[in-house]
Amino acid sequence: MIASADRLLLAPGVVLEDGHLADEVRGERWPLNAAGTFVLTRSGSRVGQIVDELGAAFGLSEAQARADVLQFTWLLNGLALVNLERRDRRFGRLVEWIALAARLAPSGAWPAAVASRRAVDTTTTFRSLATSLAAVWSRAAVVALAAALVVAQFVAVIGAAAAAYPLAVGLGTGIGIGVHEAAHVIALRGVPSAIVLHGRRLFVLHARVESNRRLTVALAGPVGAVAAGLGFAALGVVAGAPQLALVGVPMVAHALALTVACGDGRVACGL
């Protein structure tokens, strides 16, 4: 969903240069026409304001200007070249999303997801770790909460003695996502990169690297999460704390990312 109050922003690492849109992560630049340049030079403005200004500058009706701006914005956002900053509260957005999903339900479609590209700094290992964790923590927290709620359903059947298990599974799920993406970014040290959240997808966008490095980067995510998970499991056994050992299980489940069911696995299998 894109609202008139959303602010259009060039994504981190994307700049306007001499009538071209340049992406330093991909290492590519694309020419822009006059209307495209007009829209993108207003980076930081509200979408509704850009629609009004484009209509006035190019003599377009409001409907035509809105259609043009939205089509252009969706295209660039889908390519993770622009972000949309939302000022309204998360709860309000959730209510809007549910209302739109209910309207679209008869057609069997979901509201289109907006992509969000976040900067990561790959100059040092520490910066790679810190910036990638900062980029993914909100997504990791949501998935962790969902996992904990699912496990809580089973625990409700088992009994109160297992009340700590949903917490352990949620914690392991959240940490696993953070470690997985951080390991990819650490393996990309020195390579311009960004983390992109698009719907349920979460991936690292990076400059082209040679095939052996690409294989290493693909393996680093699942292997990092699995290693951390084995560490938690071993620590739990040594400490005599099954809950701590359980934290490691969702992290070890990242081993499934080594199969062709996931993008990392397809790269690792040479597909």
Partner: protein
């Protein structure tokens, strides 16, 4: 070589996950002093048997079978993906 890699990655992924999940479940059962028997007919995955003050845990051949099935499934899925690709896009 790619087929071998697909098989090994699938086997490691499923085998490791099955083994760690079984170990944690067995450890939790052991800590609670409960017996546990996860098996499919004669195929044992994990079993925990309390014997007075001690407890014995057994990781059966079922876990190895999970790894083999995981490797075979990944190999088959990789072959399917390769076959469905347009000929001009094939790397092999």
């Amino acid at each position: 070589m790619r087929s071998l890699r697909a098989f090994v990655l699938g086997a490691v992924a499923l085998g490791l996950l099955a083994y760690v999940a079984a170990a944690v479940v067995a450890f939790a059962a052991q800590a609670d002093g409960r017996a546990l028997d996860v098996s499919l007919g004669p195929l044992v995955f994990v079993a925990v048997v309390p014997n007075g003050s001690t407890t014995s845990a057994t990781f059966g051949g079922g876990l190895a079978l999970v790894a083999l099935v995981g490797g075979a499934a990944n190999l088959a899925a990789a072959a399917l993906i390769r076959r469905r690709r347009p000929p001009g896009d094939r790397l092999d």
